[in-house]
Symmetry: C2
Subunit: 147 residues, 2 copies
DNA sequence: ATGGCTGCAAAAGTTTTGCACTTCT
DNA sequence: AGAAGTGCAAAACTTTTGCAGCCAT
């Protein structure tokens, strides 16, 4: 994992450079935070984490950087059951979510199962599909007990 | 369709009454707007439409009503590629979205194809799955041309 | 009649922007 | 050196809330 994220960082640097974007400590710090966290973070949480090592890093920079990363396809803006925007890295392959409406727990899963569907729909509507998201909502075992 | 939405309205009235909620012209107007629009509306668009017939209907009421409807399971808050919250009625069966990242166009589609997946995951994670959402993102034919 | 609902205005919260200063390249 | 990026503060937006009056029940 250490090796891998190092590699990811390197390729992001290449990507930034190739787009005429600069490599700044702020961007690298934010990238690392997003990559490290497996889960989903909102802008404020990312800001809080970033400040632990660089207290002057501003929330504006977090937003600007997230928008940049979004444009570059490095993060995906998620909107789950909760309120704010959430971001997660897209480096580690597509994965989907199982969301408990009771306690808010989010379980991630992968499935190649959607490939067939993608092809079908791409053909049917003349779409080039670049990303997919599958969210399943319901109640986990624990929350079902408490009812 | 006319008949059907009339029936829907009636059953919503029952639901409201059974929850000790009042049936007000504002609520009925908002319900109708949401049911009529096939697509997805954000609070502001709903407000604009509502004002066409009742100019005094306030945005607060729109929000309060949407939250009420959400609690009652009458609408679902969606979060697509765009910015704000979007709401759509849940009366007309589950359907999913094909979203163009270029122009924002949203095509809805239905598929029973997810059933298998639902069962698989329900078993695997001991979840009771009540709702699912599948969003596929990409570029439509037109937007692909312009690049 | 009376408690819930609404409209209005103000507050709270989130995201964006203008500008002077700093820092990558 | 020069342009892009940053921090700070203010603005723009979206959503929620307090309160006085109104209206379904």
């Amino acid at each position: 994992m250490g090796k891998q994220s190092e590699k990811a960082t390197t390729s992001v640097k290449r990507l930034l450079r190739s787009m005429g974007k600069r490599i700044t400590p702020q961007r690298m710090a934010l990238l690392r935070i997003i990559e490290e966290q497996e889960g989903h973070l909102d802008a404020d949480e990312i800001h809080r984490l970033a400040r632990e090592e660089n207290p002057r890093l501003s929330l504006s920079t977090v937003y600007r950087t997230l928008n940049l990363f979004k444009e570059l396809g490095l993060v995906e803006e998620l909107h789950l059951a909760e309120e704010h925007h959430h971001y997660e890295g897209v480096g580690s392959g597509e994965h989907h979510h199982l969301i408990c409406l009771g306690c808010g727990k989010v379980i991630e899963f992968e499935c190649s199962f959607t490939d067939e569907l993608r092809q079908e729909l791409a053909k049917q509507h003349d779409f080039e599909i670049t990303r997919s998201r599958v969210d399943l909502m319901g109640y986990c075992a624990e929350c079902r007990k408490g009812r």
